[in-house]
Chain length 431, copies 2
């Protein structure tokens, strides 16, 4: 296809809204518009929506990808004004009001950038080359295969030093992703690996490191929750290195800023993200963290009919002078507000400026323990009850999208016997 081919989408009497990206924000927007007088074109690289908060479970062989990803075509069955195209937007031409894709170009009346964020390696090329990201279910699956492959290799590696490289795992970043990963790896070390690999001395040889630049984990949570999460991790045997930083990684040794090094071939990078806007938008619309500056109506600065929602957007609001956190809640609320404004537009009602309703934060540390922060009324708690709440919230979040029975049964079985059958190194054979 070349730049002059038009992507095959039926003509419509209605205005066309093109949404780039079917994450939390894009999906919410498309759903809310599925009965309105717009033609909605949802473009995504994948044919499925990914439930990001549970990627770490896929990486840890605790859940199947199919439990946490949802095919768009199933989600939108029967919605006649929604057109799904599985492709990538290569660039935007705001003057012509088109986006370019490998399948051809696509006109829009309104364009929504909901492309989210990608891993930020802060310019360190070695780390980018060797570390493992976890920003998609495909990456999580790759990480799972990698961990399992390395334990197999460890069996036939008689020397101590090279075996250490295979069995030790370093997680960088003490946010929710890093903490949840470290917690479940520690449990895997305790409950699964000794049974699967009796030939290895798991207890003594395997170390799980969590490297965090600041003085606490779960920065942004309440002090109490941060402290609790740290204690939970240490009780599980995770070696938490606070006020530390990975300065280099050659694929075999992880160099820390104090000059020490850890032998490991697996560095999981959960230390930061940056917005991933689409090429073609004015450079001046890009701001902090490579995000698109938007006003309270989600309009991208210095453009017309272009909007941004979710992790790729940067909006200042009284009370959130440094922008909103890059979390699912913000993206979902962004999508809902923008949909409402599109509806108001048709009905010639006033547009509503976005106002973030912070419902709180939670993170789980292994099975049966979590921390929960609730902002209004200010309140925090941890332990088993927090974990139950975490479970319920996450189940309800995927309830709308899919039969949750499986995920639930899966978790229950998992919880009872610490033992899944998902430790499979499956790679679709490429011909």
């Amino acid at each position: 296809m070349d730049a002059t081919t038009k992507i095959n989408i039926p003509e419509s009497p209605h205005e066309r809204i093109v949404i780039v990206g079917g994450g939390f924000g894009g999906l919410q927007l498309a759903r809310k518009l599925s009965r309105d007088d717009y033609q909605v074109v949802l473009i995504d690289k994948n044919n499925y929506h990914q439930f990001q908060p549970l990627f770490y479970q896929v990486a840890m062989a605790g859940l199947e990808p199919s439990s946490i990803v949802f095919p768009f075509r199933k989600l939108f069955q029967g919605k006649k004004n929604i057109y799904i195209r599985v492709t990538e937007v290569v660039s935007v031409e705001p003057d012509k009001k088109t986006v370019q894709t490998p399948l051809g170009f696509c006109n829009y009346d309104h364009l929504i950038i909901a492309t989210g964020a990608d891993t930020n390696y802060f310019g360190n090329e070695n780390i980018e080359k060797y570390a493992l990201p976890m920003k998609s279910v495909a990456e999580a699956l790759y990480l799972r295969n990698n961990i399992l492959d390395d334990y197999e290799d460890a069996l036939t590696t008689p020397d101590y030093e090279p075996r250490q490289e295979l069995v030790d795992i370093v997680i960088v970043g003490g946010g929710p992703t890093g903490v949840e990963l470290a917690g479940s790896l520690a449990e895997m070390k305790k409950h699964v690996l000794p049974k699967d690999y009796p030939e290895l001395n798991i207890e003594e040889e395997v170390d799980i490191y969590l490297v965090q630049a600041g003085g606490c984990v779960l920065k942004g949570f309440s002090d109490d929750s941060s402290a609790k999460a740290l204690r939970y991790l240490e009780e599980l045997g995770v070696k938490v290195l606070l006020n530390s930083r990975v300065t280099d990684f050659d694929g075999h040794h992880v160099l820390l800023k104090d000059g020490s090094s850890i032998p490991s071939q697996k560095v999981i990078w959960a230390a930061g993200v940056k917005g991933s806007p689409v090429p073609g938008l004015p450079a001046t619309s890009i701001t902090y963290g490579n995000r698109l500056a938007v006003d309270r109506f989600h309009r991208v600065k210095e453009t017309e009919d272009v909007y941004a929602i979710g992790d790729v957007a940067y909006m200042e609001e009284p009370g959130w002078q440094k922008g909103h956190p890059q979390v699912a809640q913000v993206a979902i609320q962004n999508g809902a507000n923008l949909a409402r404004n599109f509806r108001n537009r048709i009905r010639e009602k006033d547009l509503i400026p976005f106002a973030y309703n912070d419902k709180g934060s939670m993170a789980t540390v292994g099975r049966g323990r979590a921390v929960v922060d609730i902002p209004k009324p200010k309140f925090q708690f941890g332990g088993f009850l927090a974990w139950l709440l975490w479970l319920v919230v996450h189940l309800f979040a995927i309830l709308g999208t899919r039969n949750k029975l499986f995920v639930f049964i899966n978790w229950v079985i998992n919880y009872i016997n610490y033992d899944q059958s998902l430790r499979l190194i499956i790679k679709p054979k490429i011909k």
Copy 2:
């Protein structure tokens, strides 16, 4: 690693049995020997056993791979005399009693070749290059991704001819695999595709072809069952081409022996298998269908302490003068008999010659219909009852290896609403 590195396996006072391949035969043998005075080394390319009779369900997005594959380490947890090595046997050196692998060499006292069979393209290089095999769960997953990708592409292919290539599917081979695939594809066409792709004219444009060289499908079954299966397929709308043959395939058009051609990019090749023995065994031990000739005690002709079981073995037995069929039952019974003989050897009892106990054959054609042949007393039946029996037999077969609850619930849900959430194009991202 080079040919002089020894693979890392602890020394043992017992004789070492090396099993190459963890399919039905190899797995059965290893399980039956898991409490005996032998050191058993099980070598497989994958870290899991694959339940081959349900591959087609994975290809049709009806089941997750994890429902039908089982990690060896989980199957053998707590079995101290079993050592699993995930690698490939490159060659055997019968004189030195070793096998070579990329991890180093491995000595054996007894070697069992249980490497099964691979797709047979009968020397047609074009077909080998372009057709899709289905002899592993990885290939089934690849096929699934391929089918889904092509329907996505069809949406943006406005011209009729090229779109036909994307939506039509040709299955070659009218054995159980071909028949079961055709049946479930026909159901997918009827119940799933119209909902997922309302933009396509599924009913009129999509054709499922089944090409069979002989005059009936399910050759080897009773005439009655063959006829029934054919009727079921035609009722489901499958275009069954009997007495036909694919002579060439260029990736876009399938050429048949009568000179006609079908526009299709997807040819699923289920037309034949050939044994895949390990290099290094005497050429004279290889016989019909590239299989290893064995005596009634599974010993490979012209070798010592080398055995073959399952699809790769060719054994003549009174009543089976042309060898046994290459099916799971034979492999399982081979494995069990060889295990018994290894035990008898230790106890200085007589070895027992293998005798095949044919329990019958069955094949399912879509949901709710199957055919069953029972040899003693000679008896056959079809329809819904046969399908229920098929379901029960397959559930019990995986009962031993894994919690069958999931697979069962999955099937029930699937059966009721014809709609799975597994239509996901997931490829582990390769860095």
